[in-house]
């Protein structure tokens, strides 16, 4: 008011104000008065917050009543009484006493040919990698003793990151200490509550955990079905046209796997990139299974699909399969990837990868680089040969799912017994062990949305599997299934 008075030219004198009140019509004064009373009334009203109302005098319980309720409350036991899955628990008791390489020796003395683990390039036990790891152990010790921010960064980590970025031809790489946590941390560091993620329905569980942690809206499209994805993107685009304001701040992502662990087939990356630019959606690719196994020189799905890595916003991969150590990484542009160094939970808040494992990964990556795809090509041809023989010789007994060149294949029993239960497959794996073969059923937790409807045996091919080893696998599968069919 004082300010107005001071500036007499444009504002009213106090007396003018009084005069205005006198000259105003009565109905106006009554109306204004009512409004003021209403506002005052609102100020004194009880709050309607549900949490407050609960504590209101009406239904607040007395201490005795509370104690009564507390005494009555019976929680469920922490551990539910579900019957234990003995076959699963048994796998924790089966102890390997040798490296889990192309063959594995167990504590009961049996040595099995391994068709169960992700040792695609046969790097486990490779002398070069082992020696590098040992040298590193004698230099750094085992643990890194801290997160990357707090003296957990060793020169080997920096070197491996540089090497990974160069390997992919990207600006920057970020190293994680566990494969599962890589994509699970990368997704929620960008996607937030009001964002939208289009994810393949068969995505692996690590991706699903990332989606869950992001709290974004998740839209699932049918597996490898770009037409369905486009339909969903179009629907979203129409929705965006109606709400342009909201669309301007809603980030949209497509999340796919390079080689799907859950079904052994390969994503149509070329078409996804087209969709990405058409609908302005970011594209994230997880390639734990495709690194080292796809592409002419083992550089993964981008190389295989002939797509420039620049067209993918972010590539994440675990290095626990083909590179045979522990950990994972994310590569991409500096703009994209650097953000994770402060916002990737699994990066910031976890101890860094033990330096000897980083050194091993670094040596493995050098080997992939030096081999120029020799083992990758061999792996593809072994996988393809196995696939063709499965189709040719066992078509009436086992169904096989997966791309021919994929080192991961899912086998199911339907064709001979009509029944493909998990116990039946577990029995088959047990019988395989008697025949000198290590097979495993694919395990899933109940809430995994990407798991196949039917259980399966997941075959993993090693590039050094010989024809005779493949032959004995086929012989076993044939005789086992024939035996079942006869019963």
């Amino acid at each position: 008011m004082l300010i107005f008075v001071a500036d007499a030219d444009v504002s009213w004198e106090f007396s003018d104000l009084i005069e205005a009140i006198y000259s105003a019509p009565t109905y106006h004064l009554v109306f204004e008065g009512c409004l003021i009373l209403f506002i005052v009334g609102l100020l004194f009203q009880h709050s309607f917050l549900p949490s407050k109302r609960r504590g209101g005098s009406g239904d607040r319980l007395s201490k005795a009543e509370e104690d009564q309720l507390i005494a009555e409350w019976q929680p469920e036991p922490l551990v539910s009484g579900d019957p234990a899955d003995e076959a699963l628990l048994a796998s924790y008791q089966r102890c390997a006493t040798s490296q889990v390489g192309r063959s594995v020796t167990y504590s009961d003395g049996r040595t099995l040919v391994n068709f169960a683990t992700g040792n695609f390039l046969d790097f486990i036990g490779e002398a070069r990698i082992r020696d590098r790891a040992l040298a590193s152990l004698r230099h750094y010790g085992v643990g890194s003793c801290g997160p990357r921010g707090f003296y957990g960064t060793m020169d080997v980590h920096l070197h491996l990151e540089e090497q990974l970025a160069k390997f992919y031809g990207c600006e920057e790489a970020v190293l994680y200490s566990y494969g599962f946590s890589t994509i699970a941390s990368a997704i929620p560091s960008y996607a937030k509550r009001h964002d939208i993620i289009f994810a393949d329905e068969r995505c692996c569980f690590a991706i699903q955990q990332g989606l869950e942690a992001s709290r974004s809206k998740i839209i699932r499209f049918r597996h490898n079905d770009t037409a369905h994805l486009e339909e969903l993107l179009q629907r979203q685009a129409e929705h965006d046209r109606r709400n342009p304001k909201k669309a301007r701040v809603t980030r949209k992502f497509i999340v796919v796997e390079g080689l799907y662990v859950n079904c052994g087939d390969i994503c149509p990356l070329g078409e996804l990139v087209k969709l990405k630019y058409k609908y302005k959606v970011r594209l994230f690719v997880e390639e734990s299974a495709s690194l080292g196994t796809l592409g002419a020189t083992g550089r993964g799905i981008c190389e295989e699909a002939g797509v420039s890595v620049q067209d993918v916003d972010l590539i994440a991969a675990g290095i626990e399969n083909a590179l045979a150590t522990q950990g994972g990484f994310v590569v991409g542009t500096k703009y994209v990837v650097d953000h994770q160094r402060l916002s990737g939970l699994g990066y910031c808040f976890s101890a860094s990868l033990p330096p000897m494992l980083a050194a091993a990964a670094s040596e493995a990556l050098t080997m992939v680089d030096e081999m120029r795809g020799e083992r990758t090509a061999r792996l593809k041809s072994v996988s393809d040969r196995l696939h063709q023989r499965l189709l040719a010789e066992l078509d009436n007994l086992w169904s096989v799912e997966g791309a021919p060149m994929s080192p991961i294949k899912h086998l199911r029993l339907h064709r001979c017994t009509g029944e493909n239960s998990l116990p039946a497959l577990e029995a088959a794996c047990a019988a395989a062990a008697d025949a000198g073969l290590l097979l495993t059923v694919a395990r899933y937790v109940a809430q995994d949305l990407g798991q196949p409807a039917q259980p399966s045996i997941r075959l993993s091919v090693n590039c050094n599997h010989s024809d005779s080893e493949i032959g004995s696998l086929l012989d076993f599968l044939k005789s086992y299934a024939t035996g079942l069919a006869k019963k």
Binding site: F150, S181, V441
Partner: protein, 558 residues
């Protein structure tokens, strides 16, 4: 002894708080000015920007989210992510970095700096390049290689894993245990196997990010209580039981209280005995994360459970990591047989994640064996435990005498020293390093905005001389930076904690070193340690006596 009496959280002096806020206001004002200059082309823009091909996409992260990073963090980036080129033992060698553009990028001139290591988590000094642990790790590498390439539930189980699980279970006093290759994932990937929708998680406000993420992934209702505030836990617990779930008002299926043993940013110790009493009274379950306390607390190094003399079976879920005390990586969950069987069937890590690499498992098994007196030189495990305890108390007492504000419990091996003002964060980090001391400085967002601090991690690898040298450096730097904020006299317990006391304590344990092989890692009868009620000095004395008795009991049992 009462935890309240042993813990120090001196409130921030008002003047300091005001100056700290002014500091942030200045930084924000200058930040906005710099942003203005950058946006209008007066200053060269070094921010990583969206590549041309995705220019018209919705930005991947918000500009204001990165204001802090761009204008505050970036200027002092050299205090974090310092690369090292040696084993993170008592001392380490840092790779020198130079930034030609005020923190936007780093260059490596190729020189190195040797410094005392107070930054790494190496509580028991097992970060070593030789000795029994490293030898075991090397042997495991020869036999098993580095990777496994399969989850435990499929084909990734080694006999080393089974041995490590048995060792962990025996060490912590649980029926069974399960191990995982990453400490962060141990929390984040296993909590969903235990509880789910319709349950309630009561979580301490300062819980580690992995616990917060794990709780979020469960889908349960999360209620946060004030740090270490038992009254608040009880109130929230009563409320949860009486009023049940929001909206539906159905009772919760289970209530899980989630706490850490030692909080790594505060140096505080959880109030375990009271929590156990509460959880029994209200039929809740207790999840205890011993990441920073296993191996580092208690007369036998068995964590806060051991420190308070509680029964490990009263804690439903005992979680811990191998990174901090054992020089390895990964984590474990120990508990009843049923609990562990359930985790084996439902753990996301057990079913999907690769299993723990053999060298790491071998390192950790051997470290546990040493603590239980079954490997390494005779009495080495007990010596390391004692050394850490003595180092911790001696270092803390010395800092209290300097007049800086030290947070936390007298036996907690993480020691936060308050810096408060943003400008001093970098100054402290740089000045200590210049004098040959590597330590961690932490500011917002890891701490509340005005409570920036430096953090020292003690280790059994530190000698008393190293501690003296570090205290001298800290004295110099805190005088230089006017950081001696404390207005309280040093706490009463620090009176007798001198260099002579420390030497006498270490000599005592040297004498108790016993012949190898006879040692026994099983439970040792212990004098219960009194939990509350007595005046602090008396309690402290009694505690000392009880600890001494317990040590003697360990010696006698072997």
């Amino acid at each position: 002894m009462s935890v309240e009496h042993e813990e120090q959280f001196e409130p921030t002096p008002y003047v300091v708080a005001i100056i700290t806020y002014i500091g942030y206001v200045m930084l924000a004002v200058f930040g906005h000015m710099r942003d203005f200059l950058r946006n209008h082309g007066f200053e060269k823009n070094l921010i990583a920007t969206e590549p041309a091909r995705t220019k018209d996409f919705v930005p991947l992260y918000q500009n204001f989210e990165s204001f802090y990073t761009r204008n505050l963090y970036r200027r002092i980036r050299d205090c974090w992510n310092r690369p090292i080129r040696t084993c993170p033992g008592a001392e380490f060698e840092l790779i020198d970095r130079k930034s030609p553009d005020h923190g936007w990028s780093f260059e490596y001139p190729g020189t190195h700096t040797r410094a005392i290591n107070f930054g790494s988590y190496n509580y028991l000094g097992f970060a070593e390049t030789d000795g029994p642990c490293a030898d075991a790790a090397a042997a495991a590498t020869e036999t098993f290689g580095c990777g496994v390439g399969s989850p435990r539930a499929e084909a990734g189980n080694l006999d080393l894993h089974t041995r490590l699980e048995a060792t962990v279970a025996e060490f912590v006093g649980a029926e069974d245990a399960i191990i995982f290759p990453m400490g962060f994932a141990t929390n984040a990937l296993n909590m969903p196997a235990l509880i789910g929708k319709g349950c309630c998680v009561l979580s301490d406000e300062l819980n580690h990010s992995s616990l917060v993420l794990g709780a979020r992934l469960t889908g349960a209702k999360i209620k946060v209580f004030r740090h270490n505030d038992i009254a608040d836990v009880e109130a929230k617990l009563r409320d949860a039981i009486v009023y049940g779930q929001d909206r539906t008002r159905r009772p919760f299926k289970k209530i899980l209280i989630v706490v850490e043993g030692v909080y790594s940013m505060e140096g505080s110790v959880t109030r375990l005995p009271e929590l156990i009493a509460l959880k029994k009274k209200y039929k809740a379950y207790l999840y205890l994360d011993e990441a920073h306390s296993i191996g580092a607390m208690g007369p036998h190094g068995r964590g806060v459970v051991d420190y308070f003399g509680c029964d490990p079976r009263d804690v439903d879920v005992l979680m811990g990591t191998f990174t901090k005390s054992f020089g390895g990586a990964g984590g474990y969950i120990a508990g009843s047989q049923h609990l562990v069987a359930l985790l084996r069937q439902r753990s996301h890590s057990g079913l999907y994640g690769a299993s723990l690499p053999a060298p790491v498992a071998a390192q950790v098994v051997t470290a546990f064996q040493m603590l239980m007196g079954r490997a390494g030189p005779p009495g080495e495990g007990a010596r390391r435990l004692k050394q850490l305890e003595v180092n911790t108390q001696y270092f803390r007492a010395s800092l209290h005498r300097l007049g800086v504000i030290v947070y936390g419990h007298r036996t907690s091996p993480v020691v936060p020293v308050m810096i408060f003002m943003p400008g001093k964060i970098a100054a402290f980090g740089r000045e200590t390093l210049k004098r040959g001391l590597g330590t961690v400085v932490v500011g917002y967002p890891a701490t509340p905005i005005i409570e920036s601090r430096a953090r020292f991690c003690l280790s059994a690898a530190h000698s008393l001389d190293i501690i003296d040298r570090s205290v001298q450096i800290i004295d110099e730097v805190t005088s230089l930076l006017l950081m001696k904020y404390s207005r309280r006299p040093p706490p009463a317990w620090t009176a007798g904690i001198t260099r002579e006391w420390a030497e006498a304590q270490l000599k005592l344990v040297d004498q108790q070193r016993r012949p190898h092989g006879a040692a026994n890692g099983g439970p040792v009868p212990r004098r219960p340690v009194e939990c509350r009620g007595d005046p602090p000095d008396k309690v402290a004395d009694e505690n000392d006596a009880a600890v001494k008795d317990n040590l003697a009991a360990v010696a006698a049992a072997s």
